[in-house]
C-alpha cells in the first residue's frame, strides 16, 4: 500500500486526511508500530481510529483511559461468580483440588478486557487507546510491556501471543506529560486545527447537503473564533455539529441573531459565551 492509497481509503470513509495524517497511518501499518496522536480536543483523533477500522473492514477495540485504570479493567479478569458456582457444582464430583483449580482457571472463566481482546481476534483489529494521558504512570508501564511484545502472560493460563498484530492508535490531550519510554515506542503525530481549505473539505465530505456559501461563511467564522483565545476553542467536531444544527433550522445565511442563538453548539463554556454576547458576534461576522 502507498500513502496515496491510505489517503484514498480514508477519503472513502468521508474522512479528509491531510498528508501528515495519511503518512502516519501508512507508517503505523507498515512498521507495525503504535501511533500516538496528540492535539486539541474535537480535532478528529478518535474519529481517525474509528474510520480506519471501518476502512479496513476490521473490528475497533476501544480502551477509554481514566485515572485509576488498572490491569483488571484493561487486560483481563477472572469471572469470579461463575467460578464460585462451578466449585459448588463440583463439590461432590470427586475431582481433586488441583483438577478443580485447573477447571475454573480456564478460558471459559476468563473475562477478556480490551487489550487481551485485541490479541485474540483472528483478524488484526484497530486498537484505540483513548486519552492515555488520563491514566496514571503505573498503567503506562503496563501498556509499554504490552506494546513492545504484543503478548500477555496470564499466570494460570500461560502466555497469549497476538494472532495478528493489532493496529494501535493512542490519543492524548496532553493533560499530563507522557513518559519518555512510551513516546519512544510510538510513531508520533501532532494534529493541528485544519486550515480554511481543509476544514471546508471536511465540511463538504461530512455535511454534503450544506450550501457552499453557508459552509464557507460558517467555517470562516469558526476559524476566527479559534483566534480569539477562548477558554475552549471549537474543534472540527463542533463545526460539523453547528452546521448540522444550522441545516435543521433551515438557515440560508449567517445573521448575528442566528449565530447568537446557535452559539451553544460551538462554544461550551459560560465565560466564552459571555464574551461573545451582543456586539462581539457582529464584529465577528464582519466581512463574512
Amino acid at each position: 500500500m502507498t500513502v496515496e492509497a491510505v489517503e484514498a481509503l480514508l477519503a472513502a470513509q468521508r474522512y479528509v486526511a491531510d498528508r501528515p495524517v495519511a503518512m502516519a497511518v501508512h507508517l503505523a501499518m507498515h512498521l507495525g508500530k503504535p501511533l500516538l496522536l496528540e492535539g486539541q480536543t474535537g480535532i478528529g483523533k478518535t474519529e481517525l481510529a474509528k474510520v480506519l477500522a471501518a476502512a479496513l473492514g476490521t473490528e475497533l477495540i476501544r480502551l477509554q483511559c481514566y485515572e485509576g485504570l488498572d490491569a483488571s479493567m484493561a487486560l483481563y479478569e477472572w469471572n469470579f461468580p461463575k467460578q464460585v458456582l462451578r466449585i459448588r457444582l463440583e463439590e461432590h464430583s470427586g475431582k481433586s483440588p488441583s483438577e478443580k483449580e485447573s477447571l475454573i482457571f480456564s478460558q471459559p472463566f476468563l473475562l477478556e478486557r480490551p487489550l487481551l481482546r485485541a490479541l485474540t481476534r483472528p483478524q488484526a483489529p484497530v486498537l484505540l487507546i483513548d486519552e492515555v494521558d488520563r491514566s496514571d504512570e503505573e498503567f503506562e508501564a503496563l501498556l509499554l510491556e504490552f506494546l513492545s511484545d504484543f503478548q500477555l502472560t496470564i499466570p494460570e493460563l500461560g502466555t497469549i501471543q497476538a494472532q495478528q498484530r493489532p493496529i494501535v492508535i493512542l490519543t492524548s490531550n496532553r493533560t499530563r506529560e507522557l513518559g519518555e519510554a512510551l513516546r519512544r515506542r510510538c510513531l508520533y503525530l501532532w494534529m493541528d486545527y485544519p486550515s480554511l481549505e481543509q476544514e471546508l473539505a471536511i465540511v463538504r465530505a461530512r455535511v454534503p447537503q450544506v450550501e457552499e456559501k453557508l459552509a464557507f461563511a460558517a467555517v470562516r467564522l469558526v476559524q476566527r473564533l479559534r483566534e480569539m483565545q477562548l477558554e475552549k476553542a471549537p474543534g472540527v467536531a463542533e463545526t460539523l455539529e453547528w452546521l448540522q444544527g444550522l441545516m435543521l433550522l433551515g438557515a440560508g445565511e449567517l445573521t448575528p441573531q442566528l449565530v447568537q442563538e446557535t452559539l451553544g453548539l460551538l462554544v461550551k463554556s459560560r465565560e466564552d459565551l459571555l464574551r461573545l454576547r451582543g456586539a462581539a458576534v457582529e464584529s465577528l461576522l464582519e466581512g463574512i
Partner: protein
C-alpha cells in the same frame, strides 16, 4: 556517501538540535523510507518526521534541519528503474533495501554533551527575591521542570498505601488451597485517590518579589497534578484555579484585587473556609499556604481560622520565603499565631527549597 550514512548524519544533526533520537529511531527511519516513494520529497519529509519527532516542539527544528541538510536536492539519489514503471511501492533497488534493513541500532554516534546556557545548580540555590529580569525565563523553565518532578513523586507516593476492596479472584484462589474455605480475605491493591492539593498564595506587597515566581511554580504544578485548587489572597481571597491551569498568569495578577497591598490572612482564610472549604477539603487534603505571615489584620480571627482549617484538612504546610534565612525566627504576628496549627513550616525562597515539598505534601520521607 551511502544512503544510510546520510540518514545517520541527519540523525546526528537532529540530536545536536535537542531532539531526543533514541537508539531504535535510525532503524525505524530507515524502514520508514522503504515504505515511501523516495523520489518524492514530501513523502520523505513526512515519513522521517513521523518517526523522528516525538513531540510537537520537535517539528520546527526538524523542518529547519531537513531543509538545510537535504537542501533543494532530492533527499536521496534514487537509482530508479529507467523503464519508469512507477509502481513498486516506492521500494528501491535490492541494494538500497537491504542496506536500509540492515541499519544498525548503535550506529548513531553520541554527540558531545551540550552545555546548557544557564547554570541550573546556581539558580537552584539562589534567593528568588534577588534574581534579575534576565534570569526569569530560565527560572520559569526550572520551575516547570521542578513541578513535573514533584508531581510525579507525589502521584507515585499517593498511590501506594491504603487497603483496597476485597479481591474476589485472589480470595478464591487462596480459599481453594485451603480446602475451599475462605480463611483470609485478599484485597485488591486499590490505589488511593490522589489527594487534593489546595494552595493559598499570598500576593501582598511584602511577598511581591516571590509572588510571580511562586505563581509560576504553582501553575506548573497544577498543570501536572490533577485535583489541585489554587487561590491568591492579600486583603481578600480569589480563586484562580482555572486561570492558573491555563497559564493565564497575567490575568491572575490582574485578578488579585491589590497585588501589592496589605495582607489580611485571617479574613482571607475565613472567606476560604466559608465558601470553598466545605467542598474542597477533607481529611486527605494538603493545604499549602505560601506567605511570609506579615499580617495586618486581626490576629484573633487568624487563630480561629487556623484552628478550623486544622480540623478539616489533612495537613497544613506553610511555606515562608523568609524561612530560608538561617537566622529566621517566626516572630511575625501572623506567623506566630498560625504556627501552632501548622504541620510543616518550610522555606520557599529558592527552587531547591521547593523541591523538598513533595515530602511534606505526602507526609513520608522524600
Amino acid at each position: 556517501m551511502s544512503m544510510l550514512q546520510r540518514l545517520q548524519g541527519f540523525c546526528v544533526r537532529l540530536r545536536a538540535a535537542g531532539l531526543r533520537i533514541g537508539p531504535h529511531d535510525l532503524a525505524d527511519a530507515a524502514r520508514s523510507l522503504l515504505a515511501v516513494d523516495l523520489g518524492v520529497r514530501w513523502q520523505v519529509f513526512l515519513a522521517l518526521q513521523t518517526v523522528l519527532c516525538h513531540e510537537p516542539e520537535d517539528r520546527e527544528a526538524f523542518s529547519r534541519i531537513f531543509a538545510e541538510f537535504f537542501e533543494d536536492r532530492q533527499p536521496f539519489e534514487m537509482p530508479r528503474d529507467p523503464g519508469g514503471s512507477g509502481e513498486g511501492e516506492g521500494a528501491g533497488t535490492p541494494d538500497v533495501t537491504s542496506e536500509l534493513e540492515g541499519a544498525q541500532v548503535e550506529s548513531i554516534p553520541e554527540p558531545d554533551a551540550m552545555l546548557p546556557s544557564y547554570s541550573p545548580v546556581a539558580l537552584l540555590r539562589k534567593d528568588v527575591g534577588t534574581l534579575s529580569a534576565e534570569e526569569m525565563p530560565a527560572l520559569q523553565r526550572l520551575a516547570e521542570e521542578l513541578a513535573r518532578k514533584l508531581a510525579q513523586r507525589i502521584a507515585r507516593r499517593l498511590r501506594r498505601r491504603r487497603r483496597g476492596v476485597v479481591d474476589p479472584a485472589r480470595t478464591l484462589r487462596r480459599a481453594l488451597r485451603q480446602g475451599g474455605e475462605v480463611l483470609q480475605l485478599r484485597r485488591r491493591r486499590k490505589r488511593r485517590q490522589k489527594a487534593r492539593l489546595v494552595s493559598l498564595l499570598d500576593v501582598s506587597g511584602s511577598m511581591q518579589p516571590y509572588g510571580r515566581f511562586l505563581l509560576c511554580f504553582l501553575a506548573a504544578l497544577a498543570e501536572r497534578l490533577p485535583r489541585t485548587e489554587t487561590f491568591v489572597f492579600s486583603t481578600d481571597l480569589t480563586q484562580v484555579t482555572r486561570d492558573v491551569k491555563d497559564g493565564n498568569l497575567d490575568k491572575v495578577a490582574g485578578l488579585a484585587t491589590d497585588w501589592a497591598g496589605g495582607t489580611r490572612i485571617g479574613l482571607s482564610l475565613d472567606h476560604f473556609l466559608r465558601e470553598y472549604a466545605p467542598t474542597l477539603i477533607d481529611g486527605r487534603t494538603a493545604v499549602l499556604v505560601m506567605s511570609d505571615g506579615l499580617d495586618t489584620g486581626e490576629v484573633e480571627l487568624l487563630t480561629r481560622c487556623m484552628l478550623r482549617l486544622q480540623r478539616r484538612a489533612g495537613r497544613i504546610i506553610w511555606l515562608n520565603p523568609l524561612a530560608g534565612d538561617p537566622s529566621y525566627a517566626p516572630l511575625a504576628r501572623g506567623m506566630s499565631a498560625a504556627l501552632p496549627f501548622v504541620d510543616v513550616l518550610a522555606p520557599a525562597h529558592s527552587l531547591d527549597s521547593l523541591l523538598q515539598l513533595g515530602r511534606y505534601i505526602t507526609g513520608g520521607s522524600a
